[in-house]
Amino acid sequence: MRLKKFLSVALATAMTAALIAGCGGGAAGGSTDSAQAPAADAGAAAPEAPAADAAAPEAPAAEAEAPAAEPSGEPVTIKFQYWADNTDYSQLMQDIIAKFNAENGKGITVVGEEQPWDGGAYSENLFNAKMGGSDVDVSTWKLTSTPLFVNNDLLVDLTPYVDAWASKADIDDNIYSVMKQAGGSDSAMYVMPWNIQVLYVYYRPSYFEQAGVEVPKTYDEFLEACKKCTMKMDTDGDGKADTDVYGFGMRGSKGGQEPWGSFIHAAGGSFEDLTTTDAIKGMQDYIDLYQNGYAPKTAPSDGFQEIIANFKSGITAMTVHHTGSSKEMEETFGDDVSAFAFPAGKGQWTSMGDTETVIFSSCEHPAEAFEWVSYLAAGEGQKMWCEGTGNVPVSKTVAQGDFFQNNRFMKASLDGESFAGILPILDTTTEWISTVWPNTVGQALAGQITAEQCMQTLQSELYK
């Protein structure tokens, strides 16, 4: 009886503990797939912290081993992880891998493994996997993740490889600078450029015609166009102008900070200090667009899927995205869709969506891995990927091709390239993007806080 009681107690205690574990698991990474990884982190990261201290940041493990600039020629397998936005891109990547494997002539075999982007969870899952001992050698990348991985000594410094690379000059120096900034160093470069996406404004020429507006050349004209394009229209061809069309397809959910940044800069603000009068004015313009009814009422919760769906269904006259969606826009509207770079006000800025590659410090064959990432950066891999996806190439040679010179969306991208930038990459940026920005801006759109309060919160949370 006593034993029975004891077991009952043990089971009941275990159930109680399960609650905490559920929460602890949540605390350690949430539900489903990510729940287990941080539990591994807990075990793995703690002992690693001193090791991180021991290894001077200036001399990460991979750098300490003097990099072999040339591959050995021995048969080597490189495990490459990537995400693809759709099944066409998945196949394209597999085609590039197959071509590289067949033609590299150095015994290098790349094995590509696709993982979902999952609204940005790709990077978190990758971090958890690497901390748990994943054997991935190379991965596609977003700059915002760099500080986290660098702080945990997970990336190879690519500087010696790039310096010895014959095609180094084919990529603009300022792109290398952005890569270095992301790693928090002026000398070490942990990220290899691959392709960029420059955000521009999609618009419907037929809507502009009906509203009597020209393609905006200034920020004020753009705001005016948002106002004028908000109207009743016949979008389903039934002869009745009974559909509410909104001038601007605002993205208030995660990812919306990119188009929002254009408003802040156009009003004269900047990311360095979001509390200046000009930056607050940009925020107020953004709020006014929503509160005056020039953006859909769903804007505070609209993400990528929604802004694209709204534009494609004719509900919005303009929205901001990049060439990644241009193919489907053309398929939907034919010639009745075009694009322009976000216009200048006091300042001008647009978001440079970035995609790069990295080599992990756990990779046993970094020289061979570099052969692969350099093939994606300036070789045939660059041409195939950028032509297939419509992304802007980083290779100057590839960018000169007819495909990129004769495309109206690519032209809008190239028009914006000179003032394209990225959010400050800090260790707070990921949380700021995924939670702080959408909710704080949501409070401002709902009228719960003023533009000034909103910007003060955004500033303090980004630079805390």
Binding site: A12, A17, A21, C23, A27, G252, P296, D427, S434
Partner: protein, 290 residues
């Protein structure tokens, strides 16, 4: 012989107990330890013991406070309505009618659908531009213009509560139906002879007979709903303007941001709150043992 007989069941249970102890207690210990550290993997070199600092910070954090209150409302309305509608469904399914088996099977669909799928499905149902709910309400003439259910602070939280209620009704119905079928029919017959009304039979026979099942089901559901993240996260990610951010969602967000120390502290607080529910549950189990 008797001794062998008494040990045998415990030997059967032992592997499960061992696994639970290993799988559950190690993460629990980790969570407790992390809650006393500045365990932020974004700044791994700054990890240090900070005693109760995470807990103090949590109680001073306006987002934590509002999330805690919202969690109470989430559980109160979520579980409350699940019970009411689940009980009604159980009473209906307890009646004899043609196709009862099919209806019973179909009514289980929300419960067997994954939370992630439910979140995505209801997100599109509620969509302010293309959602079917707006379409139906417009066609019925109940609204004049579309309502952005998940985009407005005033409607987002009720909308996610409706979703969790929809998901949980079948569980209540299933548990209560099983209990209802165990209520002896002769008690109803005796009540009929005494001239009891339907309401009197409900309150004096049905409810007292199934009260233990109600108690256990409500307690279990409170624990599950309080810890639930999937539905809210897939519908609103805690927005707009934090209006659907429950404590478990906030914990998830902080953990995803790799601030594991702070997230663990909040998780411990949530677990302690849930002890209010767990203790009566354990007490009841012990009293049944006796």
């Amino acid at each position: 012989m008797n001794k062998k007989k008494s040990i045998y069941p415990y030997l059967l249970v032992a592997p499960a107990v061992l696994v639970i102890l290993c799988v559950v207690f190690i993460p629990v210990c980790n969570a407790v330890l992390m809650s006393f550290q500045s365990y932020d993997l974004r700044r791994p070199k700054n990890i240090a013991w900070i005693h109760f600092q995470n807990y103090i910070e949590a109680f001073g954090d306006p987002l934590f406070q509002s999330a805690l209150i919202r969690t109470l409302l989430w559980v109160l309305f979520g579980v409350g309505f699940q019970f009411i509608f689940g009980f009604i469904l159980a009473l209906i399914l307890n009646q004899q009618f043609r196709g009862r088996g099919v209806v019973r099977a179909l009514s289980m669909i929300p419960w067997v659908t994954p939370g992630v799928l439910i979140g995505l499905m209801w997100r599109w149902i509620y969509d302010g531009n293309n959602g079917v709910l707006n379409d139906i309400l417009l066609k019925l003439g109940l609204i004049q213009e579309k309502i952005p259910f998940l985009s407005e602070v005033s409607t987002a939280f009720p909308a996610v509560i409706v979703t969790i209620v929809w998901q949980g009704i079948p569980f209540f119905a299933l548990m209560l139906l099983a209990a209802l079928q165990g209520v002896p029919q002769d008690m109803y017959e005796a009540a009929d002879i005494d001239g009891a009304t339907k309401l009197q039979k409900l309150f004096f026979i049905t409810l007292p007979s199934i009260k233990n099942t109600i108690f256990v089901t409500v307690l279990l559901r409170i624990i599950w709903v309080a810890n639930s993240v999937d539905v809210i996260f897939n519908m609103t990610e805690g927005g707009p303007a934090y209006s659907t951010q429950t404590l478990s969602v906030y914990i998830y967000q902080k953990a995803n941001a790799l601030n594991l120390g702070y997230a663990s502290a909040m998780a411990i607080i949530l677990a302690l709150c849930l002890l209010v529910v767990v203790v009566p549950y354990l007490k009841m189990n012990f009293s049944e043992e006796k």
